[in-house]
């Protein structure tokens, strides 16, 4: 019996081992493919960036298209960024008042709100909002142009598509992000103060004076201007995803989704590096 069992087990053992080896092999292959794709994506993004940079710094310059894109990225994102900033201001105001009252530090409320909005939430919320609206828009628009051969038509007309399509959009994102961040900051502070003053009246003058007491310009400027890097990330990834898409409507959808997801992810990852960098350099 015992012999029989051991024979059976011994008999079944080789195929099981083969199956396991097969599974491990498949997993290793998948992991290798994933790593390859990741590096290939980065490599292609680097080549794309180099082409855009070269096109951007050499004449002719596409001023008219740049102005159109500044309007598209800036003015048209204004209401969204203003609303998002306002909502964040109200939420932070409610949360901060509750927490500070609990710890007996109610007098810290204005400074707490100002620092939370200007240093953390304003820039990040602006970046994510623009990534959603502008990133998806650029990705879908360029992908649609790509699959309908409009980008090829631009190139066939002896016009550099990296210059007219990508460089202008990326430059607009870089230039407009800090300005939109100021909008989100202003609406956040305004609505945060309003939420506070409805519960416990506090003059706006007093709120600002107390909030900015002892603050230096260097405490807020780097946080605002770091959003230019967000702009670069959003514009670059959206343009790359759009201009390198393949495969009809599905490709357009994929480009729009990838633009938002990847831009948002890299925006947050870059923030980790930039926050540390700003702390080291400016404090």
């Amino acid at each position: 019996m015992s012999n029989n069992e051991s024979t059976t087990v011994a008999g079944m053992s080789p195929p099981l081992t083969k199956q396991r080896i097969g599974r491990v092999d498949t997993a290793v292959n998948s992991a290798t493919k994933l790593i390859n794709n990741f590096f290939e994506w980065f490599g292609n993004l680097g080549i794309f960036f180099w082409r855009v940079l070269r096109a951007a710094i050499t004449p002719p310059y596409e001023w008219r298209e740049l102005i159109r894109q500044l309007d598209e990225v800036g003015s048209r994102s204004f209401p969204l960024v203003f609303a998002a900033g306002a909502a964040i201001g109200v939420i932070l105001s409610l949360e901060a008042r509750y927490s500070l009252t609990r710890f007996g530090a109610k007098s810290m409320f204005p400074a707490s709100l100002v620092y939370s909005v200007l240093q953390v939430m304003g820039p990040v919320i602006t970046g994510l909002m623009v990534s959603g609206r502008v990133g998806a828009g650029i990705g879908a628009e360029l992908a649609s142009m790509k699959v309908t051969e409009q980008i090829d038509a631009i190139e066939a007309s002896a016009i550099n598509p990296y210059r007219i399509l990508a460089a202008t959009r990326i430059a607009a994102c870089i230039l407009m992000l800090p300005l939109l961040t100021l909008v989100a900051d202003a609406s956040g502070l305004l609505m945060g103060w309003l939420a506070q003053t409805l519960v416990e009246p506090l003059s706006f003058h007093q709120f600002i004076e107390s909030g900015f007491k002892g603050a230096k310009l260097s405490s807020f400027l780097p946080q605002t201007f770091k959003t230019s890097v967000y702009g670069l990330i959003i514009g670059l990834i959206a343009c790359y995803e759009g201009m390198s898409t393949r495969g009809g409507a599905e490709g357009v959808g994929r480009a729009a989704t990838n633009s938002v997801v990847l831009a948002s992810l890299f925006l947050i990852l870059s923030d980790v590096v930039m926050v540390k960098l700003i702390l080291v350099v400016f404090q």
């Binding site: 096109a55 002719p60 409009q150 090829d152 066939a156 002896a158 550099n160």
Partner: protein, 262 residues
Amino acid sequence: MATTYDSAIKTVDAEKEDSAPIVFVKELQKSFGRHKVLNGISLSVNRGETLAVLGRSGTGKSVLLRIIIGLETPDSGSVCINGQDITGLSLDQMGDIRKKMGFLFQHAALYDSLTVAENIAFPLAHHRREMSRSERGDRVKQLLAEVGMGGDLGKMPSDISGGMQKRVGLARALALDPEILLLDEPTAGLDPISSGEIDDLVLKLQQERQMASIVVTHDLHSARSIANRLALLDKGNVVIEGKFEDLQQSDIPFVKEFLKQS
């Protein structure tokens, strides 16, 4: 002081230049993955001549045109435009070559966010910066009149038919007065009447402008009416090249089958 001998040499040189092929494609090879699309194609087109490239779908006709205008890079072989090898040129270097070419895409590829007039003005605005806005407007009207669409300036591409889109695409391709015209399936997807109108238009423009044209098509009737020479492609190779009569007299089974089915 130029002698009679010098001027005679100049005349001979000019004649040579005229007779030299303006487009010369030599042993082009192109694969996408494992699929070989072009397998060593050689073709040439002279000034004032129209070459029709025929073949079944997927035989690399459109890829050939895209390589000639530099939208695709060949795996090997060369493309010479006016004697200059353009394979391997950068995007900006290609710009100067492309200004001499007009390209009509299979689906017209009009810019869908611009009006008909803006589509045609687009290359002019970038390459004829010396033109004033009114001059550009006049040129657009003239080009649209040339393709029989004088009254549709303000329409959007989505508001006009496929045949009209092809006409606008043709007007855009002609905007920079090209020496070479590349037409990718100009009559594909059109009804017989619209196809005939496009053929007549291409023929008229060809006679007026004396460009070197390459027309990619699977429409034998269209090719016969607009081209001086025909080249039939199969499996990435030129099976036969010559006049329509040469194709008719050919004993090659594929040529016979193609003519029979067309």
